[in-house]
């Protein structure tokens, strides 16, 4: 809050500043996050000799995708200044709808996937309206809607069942020129975000999350922007649902619910401020991968099974703390 004395900032040539501007866009959030990822991977490689085997790679990435997708969705809501505790339930609902419509037939897939995406959009819209129009506080509002969504999931698929076509599941485990399809999926999600980030709506999401009053006074359509954020998040929830279906090959009316809170952890480890307006989804993607790898490490390190969750929990808290460090320094200097 205390300004630097005028004149102390060294003039940056416009061109340089310009390139820096371009850099910001693909800039992965916290250096801390990247560092953590490197460490976690290194340790994992050390503990898991066959880490780079085709199967190990493919299966690991296949495992990451659902959390990665939902974490990106969560990031967008968080950036807009909200939080979505119903994303997991949305994943469940989207997955059961998709699996019911697919009914094992490859032919039904296009329709089913579209419907699944539709579910995400609808849920997002519902959340958006509850939060924006009814002006409820996001945490509790989405906690409430999560009941609605998971209830509906049970209506759609009262008990586990339904199958996805084998092409769908096996394709997901395939690899193109040695690159696992699941990895490609993650890259696609990242690319999707980078494109989104260049879109006006995303700029407005940052503005609203950063300072809603200011954004409103500056002609930003705040309400519409907020709703859009929830809708986009819903779409990523659907993507997460598809990844889960590819992983499981079948429907289950409880499948996604537990992803919600983990997604928030991933967002924070990725360096996005829960206050909103600051951060980005690339970090969250890394955060999600870190979280998944941590539990791998604890397993491959042969921690006695009664102590595993303790170890896991402690490492997660450590990660959360490390992720905060850059912000800490920022605050100090400011």
């Amino acid at each position: 809050m205390n300004p630097a004395p005028p004149g102390t900032r060294e003039p940056a040539p416009a061109t340089l500043a310009h390139w820096w501007g371009r850099l910001r866009d693909i800039q992965v959030s916290g250096t801390a996050t990247v560092a953590m990822l490197v460490v976690v991977i290194a340790v994992n490689v050390a503990l898991q000799p066959n880490f780079f085997d085709q199967y190990a790679l493919t299966s690991n990435f296949a495992t990451f995708v659902p959390l990665v997708a939902i974490a990106v969705g969560q990031t967008i809501v968080v950036l807009s200044g909200g939080i979505d505790l119903s994303l997991g339930a949305q994943v469940t609902l989207a997955s059961v709808v998709t699996v019911q419509l697919t009914d094992g037939e490859l032919g039904n897939l296009p329709l089913a996937l579209t419907a699944g995406l539709g579910v995400g959009v609808a849920c997002g819209l519902f959340n958006g309206l509850v939060v924006v129009v009814a002006r409820l506080q996001p945490i509790v509002a989405t906690f409430a809607t999560s009941f609605v969504f998971s209830g509906l999931a049970l209506v759609v698929l009262p008990r586990p069942g339904g199958t996805m076509p084998s092409e769908f599941t096996s394709g997901y485990r395939d690899s193109v020129l040695g690159v696992p399809v699941a990895l490609l999926a993650i890259l696609a999600i990242a690319a999707g975000w980078l494109l989104l980030r260049r879109h006006r709506v995303t700029r407005h999401i940052y503005a609203v999350g950063g300072n809603a009053e200011a954004a409103f006074a500056s002609l930003v359509p705040v309400a519409r922007t907020r709703i859009t954020a929830y809708v986009i998040a819903g779409m990523f929830a659907s993507v997460s649902a598809f990844a889960i279906l590819a992983n499981t090959g079948a429907g289950d009316p409880f499948i996604g619910n537990e992803l919600t809170l983990t997604s928030v952890a991933a967002v924070v480890i990725g360096g996005t401020a829960l206050r909103g307006g600051r951060g980005g989804a690339i970090g969250s993607i890394l955060g999600a991968i870190i979280l998944a790898l941590v539990s791998n490490i604890v397993f491959f390190a042969d921690v006695p099974s009664t102590y595993r969750q303790l170890a896991n929990g402690l490492v997660v808290i450590l990660a959360l703390a490390l992720a905060g460090i850059p912000a800490l320094q920022k605050r100090r200097s400011a």
Partner: protein, 333 residues
């Protein structure tokens, strides 16, 4: 051994050993699971001494299906020869089981049967399990008796299978089921749910419930002091039996059908047989399911046979039973 990865591929098709087996358990919120894991560990140690098995890799944590998929993939990456799994979902692990069986790993599901053909279910017959207590209760309250039901979690396969069977019994017996509520297989919830039901259904003859909740339900009925009016289908768990025992003098009678954590021990025996290349006897398998017998049922008559042995166990201890090696061997030809 399994850890060198060499026989990860040929684990299924008989051969030398010693073998590595993995255990995947996706829920630690209940002591039942702990007993199961302990049982498997003990069984494993015997085989280890015989040099048949050389490593047991346990993946046991509170997680969801996605987490359990990761568990199983980790086990596969550990090059285990066989996986014993207590699945979090009847269907949603099919694809990852496929991954395992494709790599020649023997996969056996316990407690909760799964649909994937490549996997052998070694489970008790949940329907049978439910039928025993349902028939007993129906008999106690007689036709047009009025009961309420406190189930586990709707939509959960075991719950559906059990309730499906029990409902049939009650229909045939002409027992009137006033309402069905979920107790989440959780004593505290079960207790709260039952108290609510007692308040809104003043004249009940009985309550049918599943394991994990009977203790709570007993307390709710006791609090409303209606133990003499309302018949409770109980469970074979020390905590409940203690209450039961105290209430016996005032003529309280109940039933506890054992749902054995030891099913997993039977599974270990069978896995070893499978790893050694034996095949199931055709008449023992039904589809991909092998039913292990329900060890026994505690009722008013035989209560004293079992109570003394378990009296000093913790309340959460579940009466147990499992096949011996030799009994297990009879399942193969």
């Amino acid at each position: 051994g399994g850890d060198d990865g060499s026989n990860g591929g040929n684990g299924g098709s008989g051969g030398d050993g010693p073998f590595t087996i993995g255990l995947s358990n996706g829920f630690v919120g209940s002591e039942w699971r702990t007993q199961m894991v302990d049982g498997v560990t003990e069984a494993f140690e015997e085989y280890q001494d015989e040099g048949v098995l050389d490593q047991l890799v346990v993946e046991s944590a509170d997680t969801d299906v996605n987490g359990q998929i990761q568990q199983i993939r980790n086990l596969i990456n550990r090059d285990v020869d066989a996986i014993i799994v207590n699945p979090n979902s009847e269907t949603a692990l099919d694809a990852v089981f496929q991954e395992a069986t494709d790599r020649g790993i023997v996969v056996v599901a316990v407690d909760q049967a799964v649909t994937s053909p490549g996997v052998t279910n070694v489970v008790i017959d949940q329907a049978e399990w439910a039928r025993i207590s349902a028939e007993w209760l129906a008999d106690q309250v007689g036709s047009d008796g009025r009961i309420v039901v406190v189930n586990g979690i709707s939509g959960h396969p075991a719950n559906e299978m059990r309730w499906g069977a029990a409902e049939e019994v009650f229909e045939q017996a002409g027992v009137e089921v006033l309402t069905v509520a979920d107790g989440g297989w959780d004593q505290a919830t079960g207790q709260q749910v039952m108290s609510n039901l007692l308040a809104t259904y003043p004249d009940l003859d009985g309550v049918w419930t599943q394991d994990g909740m009977a203790e709570g339900i007993f307390r709710a009925v006791q609090a409303a002091d209606k133990l003499d009016e309302i018949v409770i289908s109980g469970e074979a768990r020390v905590g409940y039996m203690r209450l039961w025992n105290d209430a016996r003098d005032n003529g309280f009678s109940s039933i506890g059908v054992v749902n054995p954590p030891g099913g997993a021990v039977s599974a270990v025996h069978m896995v070893v047989n499978l790893l050694q290349g034996n095949e199931f006897a055709a008449d023992r398998v039904d589809g991909n399911t092998v039913h292990v017998p329900i060890p026994f049922t505690v009722d008013t008559n035989n209560f004293d046979e079992y109570w003394p042995d378990v009296e000093n166990e913790t309340d959460a201890y579940v009466l147990d039973g499992s096949l011996t090696k030799d009994e297990a061997a009879e399942y193969f030809d």
